[in-house]
Symmetry: C2
Subunit: 83 residues, 2 copies
Amino acid sequence: MDYKALINIMPKKELLDPQGKTVLNNLKNIDVYAVDDVRIGKRVELTFSAENEEKANEKVEIACKKLLANGIMENYSYSLETI
Amino acid sequence: MDYKALINIMPKKELLDPQGKTVLNNLKNIDVYAVDDVRIGKRVELTFSAENEEKANEKVEIACKKLLANGIMENYSYSLETI
């Protein structure tokens, strides 16, 4: 089966997000007001094959834990769809 | 009303994604095989207030077009939720 994993990797809430803060401060320069918070992370779209959904989840977990996300600073979540 | 916009900004399909290619090549080093494609983009979570949903969509469009996404190289999509 072919799968597509849509992975969101965001900085942990308790950490500062300097890139987000910079965007927050600059939004008023383009007349976008009343913004409370901006958090910026990564979006990864992974297209792959696996025998079944269990194996597919396993692959995505390994990819996130070992390569894509930094467990100390980031949280990840994902959804899996068949294609 | 308070809104949260979940924005995904991805490199356009017809463009090379060197960061994605690097991840693709490295996944086999952590024993993740049979991956066809990896695309890496940005995920932005925007918390803000707006009078109504129409105004909220307008704000997100302006933020994406003028600041967050590079229209030449990236596509954006978003979903809006009330909080």
